[in-house]
């Protein structure tokens, strides 16, 4: 079973539905669709609006016990404070960017090799090793973290970027390998045959022929790994101990649970800035994302 997003096929019936044969039933159906979509739009956008609106309010207005629906005085003070106050927001941001980007690049490189191998198979342990890699995604990270903590402690890698990135590979590599397998499965083998005839090695075929054809897949996988590491709270919370090395999620949690507990305006401004990289990345790869997600998952069953 393989899901493909065939936009044209999905559209066609809809286009026909507007034809003369169905005009009788149309208004009710159309209304239901519009109402459903409108309700979902409110449900989706309201929290986002509330985040933006609160981040633009003055401190006093944001903590008003009788909240105002829109900012009566618009101010950028909350954003300015993030980068000027005692809060090491900028450090958190840089740490998040560095660890997430490095983890994404490393994981995608390793996952490309493994995913290609899983996709083309042809060796006896192929099935077993790919299923083993898939199964690791089910393991609760919180159970792994204790032993991993002690391992990194012995290796003197606690509280380092490298240690955190090693932690991230526990979920980034299995996930990436399966996603890349899904993308590679969609590339016809015939293309590789002709490269083989031309005398390319296997590695040469992979990097000079297959990889250039799967750039969307690579980017999508990298963005996914980036999103997952950017979101991760558990690993930095346990593996990083100083504020200067901390990433955004635990950093923000720490910042806004102590003395800043009721600084909702600052909290929403920080939230907005934390969200932007992910939302931008998400919209960049939205089109190829569905395929990557479902292909890997469905092929494995």
């Amino acid at each position: 079973m393989r899901l493909t997003v065939d936009k044209t096929a999905a559209r066609r019936p809809t286009a026909r539905a507007a034809g003369p044969g169905r005009r009788r039933r149309l208004p009710v159906g159309r209304c239901a669709v519009v109402v459903t979509v409108a309700l979902f739009a409110v449900w989706t956008l309201w929290p986002l609006y509330w985040m933006l609106s609160t981040s633009l309010k003055s401190g006093q207005e944001a903590t008003n016990l009788n909240p105002t629906l829109w900012p009566h005085t618009i101010t950028g003070a909350n954003f300015g404070e993030l980068f000027s106050s005692s809060l090491p927001f900028w450090d958190y941001f840089i740490n998040s960017v560095v660890t997430s980007v490095v983890a994404a690049v490393v994981a995608v490189f390793i996952a490309t090799l493994a995913g290609y191998s899983f996709s083309r198979g042809g060796y006896r342990l192929g099935g077993a090793s790919s299923v083993a890699v898939l199964a690791t995604q089910m393991l609760p990270l919180v159970v792994l973290i204790g032993p991993l903590y002690l391992l990194l402690l012995k290796a003197h890698l606690l509280n380092t970027y490298l240690g955190l990135i090693i932690g991230y590979t526990t979920f980034a590599i299995p996930f990436g390998a399966w996603m890349m397998k899904g993308f590679f499965d969609g590339i016809p083998r015939e293309i590789e045959e002709s490269a083989r005839v031309d005398g390319y090695s296997r590695l040469g075929i992979l990097f000079r022929v297959v990889v250039p054809l799967s750039v969307p897949g690579l980017v999508t996988t990298a963005v996914f790994v980036f999103m997952n590491t950017w979101n991760n709270l558990l690993y930095p919370l346990t593996l990083i101990s100083t504020n200067a090395r901390q990433t955004l999620p635990p950093g923000l949690l720490q910042s806004f649970s102590g003395t800043f507990k009721t600084d909702w305006g600052g909290m929403m401004a920080a939230s907005l800035i934390t969200s932007l990289p992910l939302i931008v990345a998400f919209f960049l790869v939205q089109r190829s994302m569905v395929r990557g997600l479902t292909a890997g998952a469905l092929a494995g069953t």
């Binding site: 899901l3 929290p47 909240p67 493994a114 192929g126 709270l233 558990l234 939302i279 919209f283 469905l298």
Partner: protein, 305 residues
């Protein structure tokens, strides 16, 4: 070798594979070696540790047999966190799936420029989980939260709802936040699956004058079956392991009302340092996930898609 290849290029790889079926492919080596270190070793260690009274303060293996597992059986907090995990996961996945399905069916009928709406409705999925937690904590805070303010201003409720301060309502609040971020995942999955419904089938049904409702239930839903199962399985695993949302919103409180297994294991391991007992819970929980996953896969395979 090359001579064989050039003479029959299309069949050559198959023959080569048959002739010397290797056991192993070095291309998987980097991934497997790293995973052996960061996943294989920790999980083996967790199994061993679960039979000892190992603690992060005193990292010595003191074999205690099945004591941790017996303790777990008599631990009311374990059962409560298991119950909370099942409620949190079950309700979140069911509601998010239903919303995703309805939305996918509705959006399928949007045409032309309106299709950008789908992209907009997917946004929550890209919002970092920590931000979702902050956002909903802020909206549900009492007094001063917008949710209660709106509900009171419109007259839907008379007195403010104790979101986040009463165990039952706190669970409702984290589930609402969770549904908000995960419904787009199901929208994506179902949109993809709807695209896979063959046009001939829907055309034939239309010629037979099938109504909208029977078109959905008789024609389209059967095609969405495996997407629904796979999506549900992925989300069940993810929600079982969901840490940041609950930790940031409620820290498992109030009164353990939102303490799921992840939260409980995390607290045992890193606040009480009881790694042995925490690992035992982790192993039981892993066994549960394996059972759920194998049930799903059995259902998935029972009827060829």
């Amino acid at each position: 070798m090359r001579a064989v290849l050039t003479s029959v290029p299309s069949r050559a790889p198959r023959r080569r594979r048959g002739a010397r079926a290797r056991w192993f492919d070095w291309m998987t080596a980097p991934a497997l070696i790293i995973l052996a270190g960061v996943v294989g070793y920790p999980i083996a260690e967790a199994v061993i540790v679960s039979f000892s009274n190992y603690s992060l303060e005193m990292p010595v293996h003191n074999f205690v047999g099945g004591a941790n597992y017996r303790q777990l059986y008599h631990d009311p907090l374990f059962w409560e966190s298991l119950r909370n995990t099942v409620i949190f996961t079950g309700v979140s996945v069911a509601v998010a799936m239903l919303l995703g399905l309805v939305l996918a069916l509705a959006l399928e009928r949007l045409t032309g420029p309106w299709r950008f709406i789908r992209g907009v409705l997917l946004t929550p999925w890209a919002v970092p989980v920590i931000v979702v937690a902050f956002l909903f904590e802020f909206m549900f805070t009492n007094p001063g939260g917008i949710t209660n303010a709106l509900l009171e201003r419109t007259g839907i409720i008379g007195s403010p709802i104790p979101w986040l301060t009463q165990p039952g309502w706190a669970m409702v609040a984290v589930i609402i936040a969770n549904v908000w971020t995960t419904a787009p995942f199901f929208l994506l999955i179902f949109t993809a699956a709807l695209g896979g419904v063959p046009t001939e089938v829907t055309e034939a049904a239309r010629i037979d004058r099938a109504g909208t409702w029977s078109m959905i239930t008789q024609i389209k839903l059967p095609y969405l079956r495996s997407a629904a199962l796979v999506g549900a399985l992925l989300m069940i695993i993810q929600n079982f392991n969901s840490f940041p949302l609950i930790w940031a919103m409620t820290q498992g409180g109030p009164a353990y009302g939102t303490t799921t297994l992840v939260i409980y294991v995390y607290e045992l391991a890193f606040t009480s340092f009881k790694l042995g007992y925490a690992s035992a819970i982790g192993i039981v929980w892993l066994a549960l996930l394996v059972i759920i996953a194998s049930l799903f896969i059995r259902v998935l395979r029972s009827r060829p898609a």
